[in-house]
């Protein structure tokens, strides 16, 4: 079979250009992060890593992620179920609303939360009366992170569930299955991969959010500094190696994310070819 672009010359040229560009734009930055982090030797790397403030930043980042991901997972499933299984007025509006966090610049996202939950905001002022502090403490960081990452799971699920249709679920209803059973036995197995993909994306963004978090965090060292903020602060302290040490952790996490995703796709592809 002859296909377009199959001539060896064309083929070699295109692959060559693609590889060079990938190396230049994607691989090189990645290499640079680790090279900069290890510039001072492995001992210095460990020393930077076990710095008290870096450890605190890792802890806070973990906490934020552990809270954000499940909340957005549950929300994403409900939203996808709602807009793909029912027809009601305002459905398209709801779908566009969910894209707002993609459209809002992260700095603005931080700002709107600050205006609402800050001491001068109406909700923040009221909470302040009860001595409850949202901004410049971990709850504020969690809130903006939820805001910024809420579309990912839904965005993965909606097109898939739309394409799959509701016929199987409807059949299950006529067989007398309960809602929960239908979801668990019929829907979940079909959307598992998209769901996991959504979780991976949510997780990556939750770990790495910078703009929005920097507005609401208050930069208290060892208390409200997440890892990306820590990168920026160390960078500002002339501590390039320290900054890239924290950055290398985030890059490592990014690589794990990519690996998880690749493994997922590979399994899916294998199942398809077996079927």
């Amino acid at each position: 079979m002859i296909r377009i672009g199959d001539a060896p010359g064309v083929r070699r040229l295109l692959i060559g250009v693609a590889l060079v560009l990938t190396a230049l734009f994607l691989l090189l930055p990645l290499v640079a992060i680790f090279a900069q982090a290890l510039m001072g030797g492995i001992d210095l790397y460990w020393q930077n890593l076990s710095d008290r403030y870096t450890l605190a930043a890792i802890g806070l980042t973990l906490l934020v992620t552990l809270l954000t991901v499940p909340i957005n997972l549950v929300f994403g499933i409900f939203l996808a179920w709602l807009v793909t299984r029912f027809n009601f007025p305002g459905r398209r509006l709801l779908q566009t609303l969910i894209d707002i966090p993609f459209a809002v610049s992260p700095v603005v996202a931080g700002l709107v939360y600050l205006l609402l939950y800050g001491r001068n905001g109406w909700l923040g002022g009221w909470l302040d009366g009860y001595d409850i502090q949202i901004m410049f403490a971990w709850p504020g960081i969690v809130l903006v992170t939820i805001f910024v990452t809420c579309p990912f799971v839904a965005r993965e699920l909606i097109p898939l569930m739309q394409a799959q249709g509701a016929r199987e679920e409807e059949a299950a209803v006529t067989l007398g299955a309960s809602g929960w059973t239908i979801f668990r036995r019929v829907t979940l197995p079909k959307i598992r991969h998209a769901l996991l993909y959504g979780v991976i994306l949510t997780n990556a963004r939750a770990v790495g959010e910078f703009g929005a978090v920097s507005v609401v965090a208050g930069a208290i060292r060892g208390q409200t500094n997440t890892l990306p903020l820590q990168v920026e602060q160390l960078y500002q302290d002339y501590n390039t190696v320290g900054a890239f040490t924290s950055a290398s952790l985030l890059a490592l996490l990014a690589l794990l994310t990519l690996a998880a995703k690749a493994a997922l796709e590979w399994r899916a592809a294998r199942r398809e070819s077996l079927a």
Binding site: I2, R3, L26, F78, S105, T174, A251
Partner: protein
Amino acid sequence: MIAATLRRRASRRVLPGFGLSLGVTLTFVSLILLLPLTSLVGQLSQLSLSQYWFLISDPRILASYRVTLLAAAVAALFNAAFGLLMAWVLVRYEFPGKRLVDALMDLPFALPTAVAGVTLATLYSSQGWVGRWLETLGLPIAYTWVGIALAMAFTSIPFVVRTVQPILEDLPSEVDEAAVTLGARDGHAFRRVILPHLWPALVTGTGLAFVRSLGEFGAVIFIAGGKPFETEITSLMIFVKLQEYDYAGATAVASIVLATSLALLLVINLWQGRFTRRLHGGGA
């Protein structure tokens, strides 16, 4: 009352869970999305129309729109070409390291933008690995609009690749066989036969990349020079106004970015609904 009407409308459906999912979704959307945005509206409503116009049409702000739009457009066009190439190579050819390259395409989404910004600034400055070379060729990147476009392009690489890839995969081989047997040459055949199938996805991907670039802050800020009228982006202007306690000014400018991005997203959503069914399900 509204819920009751909705329920009646939806009751034609046999599936359960309408009330529950509607409740959860609306609660979440109101608390997380709409309530905070009311504070934005609240700030804006304190401005008269002429004040609003004055704030958003300041020459320096206008210049920042120009820089942002230009850099985002260049970044999106670059990604359209690069994304198309990568999708083509990854779908049509076999070569060693292909899986690695494929996985790397998602790196910009997985890597925190601040990390990307610091790294790009380090690489492309006149002292960096790449910047040093380009400098001798007379091509300074960092602190020019090219640097801004570069950072924007980096953060939005996956959009085009991942929208075009699944369409290309699904393209039946009869399509190009017909063209080839008719004796058309590669470039010509590609334009006449393949591109018409791809271009809805290509436009969608490019559009998403463009929207993402308009709002990008973390990655760009380290590499943009911040020179008035030349390398100031709109996100930076919002940030500057925040520093001056000018919430009204910040929200006014933010509202322009927000409205532009939302309008573009809406157009993309409608377009996507018309032309392609499976765009985001591609990963699963």
